[in-house]
Structure formats: C-alpha cells, structure tokens
C-alpha cells in the first residue's frame, strides 16, 4: 500500500480517537442496548412490567403478528419499483445532460433541487399535489381527458401505494443522475471516436461503451439507494402514515410507529430483523468499497 508516511505509532490512533469515541458511544453502545431490549418486554407505557422474555418478541413477530409479513412484502415492492424507476429516470436524465448544449450548467443545477429537499416536505408537497379536491394531478388528468372524476389517490387502497412510489422516484432521480453523469464524464472520448469511425449507432455506443464503462458506479449507487429507500420513513409517514388500511406500510414505517407508541422492546426486534435483511444488500457494497482500497 502506498499510503503511510512512517511516523510515531500512536499518531494515527490519536487522530481517530475522537470520532471513534463518539461512534462507539452513540452507535455501538445503543446497538447492544437495542439487542438486549429486543429480548425484553419493554414498553414505556407499562414500566413496571419490564422483564426478560427471551425470544418471545421474535417468535411473536414471525408467527402472530398479522402486519409483519405484509409489511415485508410491501417493503420489497417499495424498494424494487422505487429504485428501478429512480435508476431508469436518473440514467435517462444523465444521458441528456451529458450532451453538449447551451445552458447545460443551469439545467444540471436545477435538476438536482429535489435532492436537497427534506423527505417531510416531499411527502407533504406530493400529498397536496394528489389532493382529491384541489390537487393538481387530478386537475391535469381531467383536463387531458384521462379521467372524468377526481380520484382521492392517497385514500384509496388501489392508488395509494403507486402514488407514494411516484414521489420517492421523484426524490431519487437527481441522485442517480448526479452519480451516473459524473461517471459518464469519466469515459474517455477516444472510445466514442473509434466507435464513430467504425460506424456504430447510438444504441451500440450506449450498450457497448457507456454502460460497461460505468458499470461499477451503477452497482454502488444501486446498493446505496436500496439501503436508503428501504430505511426511509419520512415520505410515507407524512403522505399516508402507512394507510389507508396499511396499504402503504413498509417495515421501516411499521417500526417507526411501534416506537411512537413506546413499545420499544418489540420495535427493536422488528428493527433487528430489518437490519439482518439489509445486510444482504450491504455486504456486496462493503466488499466493493474495500476492493479498491
């Protein structure tokens, strides 16, 4: 490894110490706490009943909880559709912004704005756009003649989930675009010139040069996004709070709501199961990060 100026041995550790102490105190200690809590009956509404109950929380979760499995299934749909469309949208936008035209700097900056906005605001703005009485989405669809009566999107079981997914797609397009565009700009123009000489068309250049060259970025960005989207609470919580009739309740939202009612032992158990599943996505990410270290 080329890193490393030789020096007194304690220096590197001293420099890491402050960050490490904070992280141990606010991440690893709480994590152990949460693990212990998940084996307990621990509900702040009934402080006197606090007791170890072994695996009961986990067993209840898998066998008795009628909301757990459906929430898990919804999380899968939320992640698969959400991330896929973010990726496709971000990729298409990056291709457009990678071309040379006047005002591309402005266009790039403007298209990033949804990314700097808080999830709460995104949830609430979209809730307003979807409003059944005064919502723009209904108004536009009616003006275009696609529907003839306003649909209360967020309060109908059939429409609520697709509607919520559209807003997370809207939020995620800029980040994908940002990462992919940077990668595309790193592809050497020689390759495209050579392809031009050989008479390749635009599709061939896209599939034979662009995509293979930025494969790694695509992979890492997808993994990061999967983890973020699976963990996100704020958009759904502020659009539908998991409703109507649980139609939009994902595991993250479910855990969040269990925390709100202060049933912390049970909520910890759900969160650990969620993390175990998330690690499946995280392991390849960590591997790829360390490969190039």
């Amino acid at each position: 490894m080329e890193t490393g100026i030789r020096t007194k041995k304690k220096y590197p550790y001293l420099l890491i110490a402050p960050a490490l102490i904070i992280i141990i105190f606010i991440v690893f200690v709480p994590l152990v706490n949460a693990l212990i809590m998940s084996f307990k009956f621990y509900d702040l509404r009934y402080p006197k009943k606090e007791a170890f109950i072994g695996l009961k929380n986990y067993i209840d979760l898998f066998t008795k909880d009628s909301e757990f499995w459906p929430s898990l299934g919804r999380t899968a749909i939320w992640v698969i559709f959400g991330v896929t469309f973010q990726f496709l949208g971000g990729f298409a936008l990056a291709l457009l912004l990678n071309r040379n035209f006047k005002g591309k700097g402005i266009a790039r900056s403007l298209s990033m704005i949804p990314w700097v906005v808080s999830g709460v605001l995104i949830g609430l703005i979209w809730r307003w756009l979807y409003d059944g009485n005064y919502g723009v989405v209904n108004d536009l669809l009616m003006r275009l003649g696609i529907i003839d009566k306003a649909i209360p999107f967020l309060s109908q079981k059939k429409w609520a989930f697709p509607a919520v997914i559209v807003s997370v797609v809207w939020q995620g397009i800029p980040f994908f675009c940002l990462m992919l565009l940077a990668a595309m700009q790193g592809v050497s123009s020689d390759m495209y010139e050579a392809a031009d000489i050989d008479g390749a068309n635009a599709w061939q250049k896209l599939f034979r040069i662009t995509i293979p060259s930025i494969k790694n970025t695509i992979y890492v960005t997808l993994l990061l996004r999967i983890i973020w989207v699976a963990n996100s609470v704020d958009i759904i919580q502020n659009m539908t709070a998991g409703g109507p009739a649980y139609a939009t309740q994902t595991i993250a939202v479910y855990t969040y709501q269990k925390t709100q009612v202060l049933n912390l032992g049970y909520a910890s158990a759900i969160a650990f199961v969620m993390m175990a599943i998330m690690l499946i996505a995280a392991v390849p990410y960590l591997k790829s990060t360390f490969k190039n270290d």
Binding site: P12, A19, S109, V116, I125, W128, N216, T289, D293
Partner: protein, 286 residues
C-alpha cells in the same frame, strides 16, 4: 438551387432531431422535477379563495403575503428556524472537526487495524435509523438530553460522521504528498504542517462536506420527531405538525416549505462543484 434546398432540408431535419431527442425530453424532465416547487411557491402567495377554487388557478391573479405574516407571527416559524439552525450548525461543526482528523489518519497513515476501523465507520451507514433511534431515546432520557439540541446533534452524528470520514478521506487522497513533505522539510512538525499547510488547501472541500452535513441535519425528520418537544422542534417536525385532524393547512405548509428550501438550495449551488466531485469519487474510481 436544388443543392441549397437539400441542404436546408437536412438542416431542418437535424434541428427537429435535436428537438425530439434533447430539448423535448429535457424540458419534460425539468417540468416534472420542478413543477412541485412552483406549485408550492404559488400556493404560498395565493389568497385562500384562489387556493381552494375549482377549476384550479395556475397563474394567480391576486398575490398576498398574509400567509407569511401568519407563519412568522401566529405559527412562530422563526423559533423553529432557530432550532434547526442550532442543530444543523452544531452537527456540522462537530462532525467536521472529528471527521477531518480521522479522515487524515485513514488517508495518510498505514497502521494496524486500519481496515477494521474503516469497516466500523462504513457499516454505520447500513444501520436503519429506526433501529438506532430506539436505544438512543432511552439513553438520552437517562442523560436528560432528550428535547435538547445536544441530544439531536449527537443523534445526527450517527450518520454524518461515518459519511464525512469517507468523503473527506477521498479529498485528502487526491492531495499530493509533496504538500506535507515540503512543510516537514521546512521544519514544521506534523501538527503544524497539518494546520498551516493542509487545512487551507482543504478548505473548499471541507466547506462542501460541511454543506452536505448541514443539509442532512436541516432536513432530518425521523429522529427529530422523537427527540424534540414543541419547544425544541426543528423545521421538518414543525411542518409535519401542520397536519391536523381535519386536514392540512396547505397555505402555511407551502410558505414554510418555501422558506425551508431556500437556504439549502443556495448553499447547494455554491458547494455543488466540490460536493459532486467528492460524492462521486469513491464510486467512480471503483
């Protein structure tokens, strides 16, 4: 004659092609991404009669500042802005200082346990917020940090420190070794070299990392909703509180949203160049 006409036709075809493959799709994209902001802004300056009129009014005929007056008067939005500012600044400063030190160590030294320690920082990003939130809540309750800005700042460093260590060590790796060597030869000790030579060169990159952390702290909702009370509420929680039993106060929400978005937007535009370079460096090099 014929030739000119053919040329003209070819030119027209090219213009049409550019329009169909670039201008039109790009405009549609921007419309999709930006229209919600336009709608938020317009709702915040419309009169109530115009907000709730069918068919909808896309271009307001009458403007009013009444909503903003209400927002800062009756709703006391300035208090929430102040709370958010304290938490966001606190998070940024604390994470910048400790992360820069750690990042310098990771980027410039080879030492025993380096990989394992790096892994510790990186895996942090994987833990679900909801998982950490639960034990943090009970710890903060015991330490009386609940409902104080300190509690929230500490909670936010769970995700800002790991991320900024990763980001800043990327920045440092891009700096030539000769920088420090020159300083060391000139008789600076290592700490002197770090402070006098390194930090000034690194400042633009650090500022953009700081902007990113500020943005995250400014926007965070999930933890803030549990760790604040009506007195210490930050903007996202305050906005969320506008959802009532009978519906949402849309005019206030849109005005508050507009005010909340502005500072982060402006900061982002300034920090954009470095930030994008830093964020993508890790992935692109891979």
């Amino acid at each position: 004659m014929d030739n000119i006409q053919r040329l003209r036709r070819r030119r027209a075809k090219k213009v049409l092609l550019t329009f169909l493959t670039l201008v039109l799709p790009l405009c549609l994209f921007l419309l999709f991404l930006l229209f919600p902001f336009y709608w938020m802004l317009v709702t915040s300056i419309k009169t109530n009669a115009e907000i709730y009129s069918v068919p909808l009014i896309y271009w307001p005929k009458e403007l009013t500042w009444a909503t903003y007056v209400n927002l800062f008067g009756y709703f006391n939005f300035l208090k929430y802005m102040k709370n958010s500012l304290i938490v966001a600044l606190g998070t940024t400063v604390l994470s910048l200082v400790v992360s820069t030190l750690a990042a310098y160590s990771f980027a410039r030294f080879s030492f025993k346990g380096r990989k394992a320690l790096m892994a510790m920082f990186l895996t942090n990003n994987m833990f679900p917020t909801v998982l950490l939130m639960i034990p943090l809540y009970s710890i903060m309750r015991k330490l009386h940090l609940l409902y104080t800005p300190y509690g929230l700042i500490l909670a936010y460093t769970t995700f800002t420190i790991p991320f900024s260590v990763w980001l800043i060590q990327g920045f440092i790796r891009d700096m030539p070794f000769s920088l420090e060597e020159a300083a060391l030869i000139d008789g600076c000790n290592r700490a002197g070299a770090f402070i006098r030579i390194f930090i000034p060169v690194l400042t633009p990159a650090l500022l953009s990392a700081g902007v990113y952390m500020f943005m995250q702290a400014w926007n965070e909702y999930t933890m803030a909703s549990l760790f604040t009370n009506p007195g210490s509420r930050t903007i996202p929680v305050a906005l969320s509180s506008l959802i009532g039993q009978l519906g949402v106060q849309w005019d206030m929400l849109c005005a508050g949203g507009t005010i909340a978005v502005l500072p982060v937007c402006i900061m982002f535009f300034f920090a954009q160049k470095h930030l994008v370079a830093g964020l993508t460096a890790g992935a692109v090099k891979g």
